[in-house]
Amino acid sequence: MAIGSTKEYADSDGLYGRVNTQYAEFDGITLESGVFLGPLTVAYETYGTLSPELDNAVLILHALSGDAHAAGIDANGRLGWWDAMIGPGKGIDTDKYFVISSNCLGGCKGTTGPCSINLGTEKPFGRSFPLITMGDMVNVQGLLVQHLGIEKLHNVVGGSMGGMQALEWAVRHPDQVRSAVVIAATARLSPQGIAFNWVGRNAIYSDPARVCPDTEAGHVYQKMGRGLAVARMIGHITYLSEETMEAKFGRKLRLKDIDGYSYSLGENGMEGGEFEVESYLQHQGSSFMRRFDEDSYIIITKAIDYFDLEGPRGDLVTAFENISAKMLILSFNSDWLYPTSMSLTMVRALQAAKKHVSFVELDLPYGHDSFLANAGIPSLTRIIRGFLNSVR
């Protein structure tokens, strides 16, 4: 989130032009839990051209609320969420690379997830959707990559949850990735991260929808409450930095025609938010309600909670032993959700495992979401472009 901008994503110009989301069908996979899930649909987009040697593919990995539409302009005129980074001549240059972006497993933007129809019950899965992991999401991305005829990816790149997936790719599919860029991520979700996710899910669970009687398989129920909006508001607080909030909102009041406080909770005590920061969060929550599914939110945050490459023994060096990709770890000094110290833990373990690792801590004030902020794009462009060029 850039200071002084209310755009959800970084400034973009849609330079790549029109794109259409495509869909690939697969028989299914056995999840880490042992459950078989199939058939599967994967929503994806591609930008650029695959080289005859099939060696220029870059896989983009989105964060919690992202989708397959990463660049260009879709049928609804919407710009991709990382359009500022992906396109002709941009940091991830579509004149050079064949860029693939897919919606993650469990998502609600075209890939199989809780909104999909369970063939067994002919109803949407809802909360009966099997619990999944980052590894499962990556395995499904693997099916797509294979489907596109690519044996080895030039690069996998993602921020936040996407960074976790980039790590999974490097650890679990070492022969299939030449390099990985891990942005604002961690090798294990911290108890603090688990706690925030838990509060978010609790907000959803507290909705009246939760108590709708539904004994049938499929858990179809009406979505009535604002739990998802509350979850998103909590999330948004963790994605921003104190500094950004101060600069963007300060203690500014929303109602400019009133001098000072209103000393009122509004009509019928239904408070709509008096401070600008409140109204911003309110807006974020409401718009998220319109574009995201609460059960996807539950399933994906659970997968994030489960993410722990260290394992119970707390041994990251061993976990990293299989990596053969060149690694680039990026952190932001204002990110308090996945702070630099977590990136440093990864960097030290990679160094201890004698892996090819570069690490850049960027001084950007926008918190966890800095990789999507306008002001961060120039630096990120130079870094990612330079790194991709150096990978052979």
Binding site: R348, Q351, R382, I383, G386
Partner: protein, 209 residues
């Protein structure tokens, strides 16, 4: 697109000389860790001239980005926090050029260098140079010279050491100076007479004894 880099380090006056000395000390095809690597000039030359697989450590963001743009492996780390995570003897050479005098705790880092590298190369401005000493003695003021270009109240060079200091320090640590090269009037000398008074810079190849 890239902003100007301000060189807060003591300029390695006629810079090439120092680089040439370091490059001359490094065997081809080895692994080199360059502490305070700046924008990667040395590592790039080592890659081109000696087929060296290098890695740099640098705190300044702009310089780190330049390294990445040059295709040089680099990490944003604070040298004052040591080399945690770097395995013992994982590099043939660890280089600390023009940075020793700026560290909070030089002793701790040099111990780390000796642990991580088979050999270490350290270059530092010599505070024992006669011009510096003259200024100190005659004017009674902290000298500002080519090798120590900043006034005392605003300088990154928080340690002022002489070549003789360095020798004693290495001996005290139980390490060994294998080679000592001095830059005198911009020319490198090995075994120069009265180096402690004549050299602007000391360049030493050291190893754990």
């Amino acid at each position: 697109m890239s902003a100007d880099v301000t060189e807060i380090r003591t300029p390695f006056h006629k810079f090439e000389v120092g680089f040439n000395i370091i490059i001359g000390l490094i065997a081809p095809g080895t692994r080199v860790l360059d502490l305070g690597c700046g924008s990667g000039t040395l590592l790039q030359r080592l890659r081109e001239e000696k087929d060296v697989e290098g890695c740099g450590i640098e705190l300044d963001q702009e310089k780190v980005i330049r390294c990445i743009e040059r295709g040089i492996r680099v990490m944003t780390l604070d040298l004052d926090e040591g080399l945690e995570g770097f395995p013992d003897l994982s590099y043939e050479y660890v280089v600390l050029s023009r940075t020793l005098q700026q560290l909070m705790n030089p002793e701790r880092l040099i111990k780390e260098m000796l642990r991580v590298g088979s050999k270490s190369i350290i270059t530092f401005p010599n505070f024992g140079h006669w011009k510096v000493v003259f200024e100190y003695v005659l004017k009674g003021q902290t000298p500002v010279s080519e090798t120590h270009p900043h006034p005392w109240y605003n300088t990154p060079d928080i340690h002022r050491l002489t070549i003789r200091d360095f020798r004693a320090f290495i001996q005290e640590m139980g390490a060994k100076i294998e080679r000592e090269i001095h830059i005198i009037n911009n020319v490198p000398y090995e075994g120069a007479f009265w180096a402690n008074r004549r050299a602007e810079w000391g360049c030493c190849l050291i190893s754990a004894a």
